[in-house]
Symmetry: D2
Subunit: 404 residues, 4 copies
């Protein structure tokens, strides 16, 4: 197993991060913070950051707090003094890096979606399954599981507080593509991103819906759309704005994806992911209705959870806005007093807390690559349905190792 | 044309109401109120109420303010001193009563859904089309069009304030069937109600979505479910409660219906109607996202409309909660000062205002039976899709008279 | 006692209304509705409406549904066929009309504030106390007590669900004077209205705070302000708008009034009444914090009550938004199904329900004139404090008959 | 001036922190983060942390990321290799440490309230004024000024978007003293904390109200209360819970403080600070009503600002919920994409950004000690008014140096 024991019996992990853009910066903030807030049996050292552009990665190392920088991820993966590889690159390189790291005996944290195709994700899950017996941990970065309010949702559902689940409705709405002059960034190219709103946003709500209910989606019927089919090409890799005279290219991913679904426990669900919901900036909402109660969450108010408890006297029933900042709430005992809010970045710190703890205790971290493959299978089924008149597509459970 | 002119040149309309339960009571409140609040060129008289149970309809007449009561709707329709028939019965009798009334030269206001089947609705729309040249008005009671906030939504959309519409998401959530011991009332029997949540709740959101956008739904992919398939039979026509030992019968309608859809203007939509959304009592929500802005409405806060205007400076953009109680707002100039709320029943008073005005001015009231038939066609397509693996069903526009 | 018994043993009450403006119209809607919705042991007949302008009152009678109209309130009060006088005039005529009516043996419903001065209010309370032994009922129209959510607040407080009360914060915010060109209507003249925001808005929150807590205010420290001291005079009794060249007059009442207070049970309170809170249209908010829980209400969302129950498990505590539309809630069993909202006018219908029931059962209706006098004493103390450097003013309980 | 220039021309500041409890931990998180997120002309090094308990401060140094630890603040202040002293101790030691540090030529950041008495605060302000000409910066830690939504409020007010201000209502509500068995911690002892809710919570809202409006409070009328006058003494310095048999001591500070106030621009204000508002955890709310618009903020939803713009067309006016996460918003360009929330701790990072920038550029940071003294004068006036029958107390402006 990667990592060493220190004299106090704690695990020491030397981390190498690949990618220094938005995700790299957020992960760095989490690595800087996790051991300063949580008492954990594992300690991380920010050893090296890796990216293709030497100047940029050097600047990032200084700014973000990494001891060294490198430009070749293969070299990083090959280093003896690295125990864990954190992958924050676009989806098209996930599989190659992750599989190499796992085979090199490194723990891996990989951003979602796991791979750009089901095939890639399956290969990654296989690699993780092969590495597991050697004590190697692989985790996919579905950070929103670590919003305290989301973790509380799951606690309440698994404790039976909602009874039988009837409905899930989940949306992840953004609006940054609303402007038709916004340029053709990598997220709009199938070869880089794999898919559009479906993979970027839909992946989160599919994962959360299964995480919170503890149930599996068994089938979907979907619909996708690309509202704006041509966009200005970025100039020097940067987005260009309104009225640009830049050359134009074709958008090869979906702008929006909607699907109906069923859970193995009998619940019905709607999912919607879009980048055209004007005014909704990061609006991941999920509501769950059960026989005994309901829960509703909105990422734009991530410190709150709405809980309707139908076992209360009728005249007092209502959606209670629980401010999820009490020390009794998941992850909260390490933070500030009640009523002092957490933000987006804390979900990444919590993710690392769970990862470090799992590694130190020899447990498999969640979500595993197999779970992330399952999410990919759901998205793939939704896309295939959308391409084929919205007909119902059944989703098989992930079985690993994949039978020959 | 039914109705007479009085000496002041105003139209006098003598009204006969069929049905005295919940809907009959709400309509009565609206008939009692409409001419006391609105200055209108037509005046209604509450001439007679009709229902099958003599004792009950007699009591209702006294309580609700009708001059006479009767037990035979055919007799009511045959009276010379009746100008307008208001139909508040369950769906299975709508077609017969409405067609007879139209043929007898009476104006008709008919509760939604128009008929229990597309065939019935089509026959009704044909009858209305035949009656129209004789100055006979037929209107379907989609009362939620008359929520001032909904009317304001339509005004803003039609004024181009949202630009091109990208998304509509509409839900109508209730929870009264959550209790599996709630009994098998008429709304749960296909022979009486035609369908379940789909026809009762789905009809409203389909109508509103088309009304507010001014666009037509062109296709759907749907899913329905009946969560509780057997329920206690009512005793003496009344619902029985928890733990009843009553005989049980089969629920023959859907408990919930969900569908994806497309508008002829290119927007995508999700629709969900259910009676199992614990804690959601009358939660009709509709959000519309367009290129230039968004609108969101919730019937449980019916005096409010949320408007996001993306043409404002970025730093000031936000969903504005407009309290729709200003005299500049639809229907409001006749009511109370700003900030003094209206309720559910006012939508029916507004409906009558529009109906009376249309009759007096010789205009066709909206929604016409043809529009209501169109709603039925959408619901029928959703149901057929649900019965056939969620495959896409295209919806043809209503053409009247229906070609031979 | 005024009123007669009919053959069914129910009380028949013939009503005379004085005033036909806004309040007269709202009261009329309530009189038209109360016996059509509630099963009551008393029935009201809308016998006559009275106002000084013959043409206007005649039109009002027709529109609002009164059988007759008159121009002399003394004549109305003198009629043998009138059992109840409903006073909807400006405050300067309340005392004269109410005392005459009580002395003539009529029941009286009088709009708030009871009188324009403490002296007037005291005389009215004395008259009511003298009339009471003869079975004559006198009630002051603090209609917001009849918002179902407010009645529910009181039920919960009196049932001990909040424990010891620590804090009350009450605001009644409007914004219609924000425009300095809005004209000098009667409500801005001390001789007609008695006071400004203090008496018009402050009266409601003082009454509600005492009603809901069941406690009495024992002292206050206050502050008032008139932001705009001169305004255009109305032309022909109508308000004039922006930029008017009309002659100007002095505003002789307060624009805003704020005061701190203590309850006899030990709670602290803040009160604020203003007509300059831009964007707040009818924003009567009241929050109560007790040892065991809290309640919060907002008149702009009058169908909702927020209840925080601190006896619940810590991790589930939150303000629950109770939609006060269940048949278990006060006044609701007579209305529509759950989730179907009521509005402003329903509070007046509920007020009449309580008044009719009290009269039929021989009980004293609440709030009595003595209770309304108490409200006036609080407002008077606030005003005196404001005029004297905000020093503390102690408020004595009302004792009737007033000792010689 | 303390601090050195590095070869890049940036200022290098070596920081010593006094205090390692809650405030020390939050400040540490901010010191660790500020230079990793913001591009600044000054860089901080976390040189030493100081506290009286050797074991605890040693542990804190390791956990929080300080290079060294010490137990004597005088020694810290005397070190040549320290440029800035950050004071996070209880209020009773602020004056002594801050004055010594300033005299030793160190920049000082001091937590609020500045001192425990007006005398202490005045001495500190004098010391800061004396140090200023030597390039020494002194700042008081009113961190809530650095909530982006609060900074945006100020921008909008100062840009004239509200016009003349009429009303401010500010509350800071917590509920942690609700339990009468909660023990007598240092915050409940006048000798340590100076005052109770007034100084702890009231200080924030007084500062914010003046900061956001750009106006000065000129007078107050106040009221305070101590609801629970005896509490169990802490055992070993730790709070004890319900039912404790511990010895009891007297609470010597206020539990709640309320006051009315006037601004020099003519606006009226209410302030309320309490630790007994059940269900309100960290509920700092401030609403400002002006002639042209209103703003409302709630710290429990700190990423949002409500803005009512009364210059919009009447039919579209409403409180817009601005999600303050756009790069156009204060402090936001350094953080995550739109819709990705910040939390409580970010206000401290922003505070350091502003402090570092001010030091590097040679500007006086805000709020200065003189501004913090002004807050103290307001609180002192409120307390004196409360002790003297709520009579009005006029507040003089701060003039420094204080005239002999």
């Amino acid at each position: 197993m990667a990592g060493t024991q220190n004299t106090a019996g704690d695990t020491e992990l030397r981390v190498g991060l690949v990618g220094y853009e938005f995700m790299g910066a957020v992960h760095s903030q989490a690595w800087r913070t996790v051991n300063r807030v949580f008492e954990l049996p594992a300690h991380a050292t920010m050893t090296a950051i890796c990216g293709r552009d030497e100047a940029k990665v050097a600047a990032a190392a200084g700014r973000l707090g990494w001891a060294e920088h490198m430009t070749d991820w293969r070299e990083l993966v090959g280093r003896d003094d690295i125990d864990l590889i954190d992958i924050c690159t676009p989806g098209d390189s996930h599989a190659e890096i992750a599989i190499a790291a796992l085979e090199a005996g490194k723990h891996v944290l990989c951003e979602k979606p796991l791979g750009n195709t089901v095939g890639e994700a399956a290969a990654m899950a296989e690699a993780a399954a092969r590495a597991r017996p050697r004590g190697i941990a692989a985790m996919c970065g579905f950070n929103y599981r670590r919003v305290p309010a989301v973790a509380l949702m799951r606690e309440l559902v698994l404790a039976g507080r909602l009874g039988a689940i009837r409905h899930v409705r989940a949306t992840y709405l953004q609006d940054w593509l609303n402007d038709p002059q916004f340029s053709l960034v990598w997220r709009l190219r199938r070869d880089r991103a794999g898919s559009g709103a479906l993979g970027d946003l839909g992946a989160h709500i599919v994962d959360l819906a299964q995480f919170v209910t503890g149930q599996r989606l068994t089938g979907v019927s979907g619909m996708t759309e690309t509202f704006v089919r041509e966009r200005p090409l970025p100039v020097d890799g940067r987005a260009v704005g309104l009225g640009s005279a830049a050359a134009r290219g074709r958008v090869t991913v979906d702008d929006a994806a909607l699907f109906l679904a069923r859970f193995d426990g009998g619940a019905l669900a709607t999912f919607e992911a879009t980048r055209y919901a004007t005014g909704r900036k990061n609006c991941l909402r999920m509501e769950i209705n059960g026989e005994l109660g309901s829960l509703a969450f909105d990422l734009e108010r991530l410190n709150e959870l709405e809980f309707y408890d139908a076992t209360r006297p009728v005249g007092e029933q209502g959606f209670a806005t629980v401010l999820v900042t009490e020390e009794q709430h998941p992850y909260l005992s390490a933070w500030w007093p009640p009523g002092h809010l957490l933000g987006y970045e804390h979900t990444f710190t919590h993710q690392l807390r769970d990862l470090l703890e799992a590694i130190a205790l020899g447990r498999e971290p969640a979500p595993s690559f197999a779970e992330a493959l399952n999410v990919q299978l759901v998205l793939d089924a939704a896309e295939r349905s959308a391409n084929d008149g919205a007909g119902w597509i059944t989703i098989a459970p992930v079985v690993l190792p994949i039978p020959a």
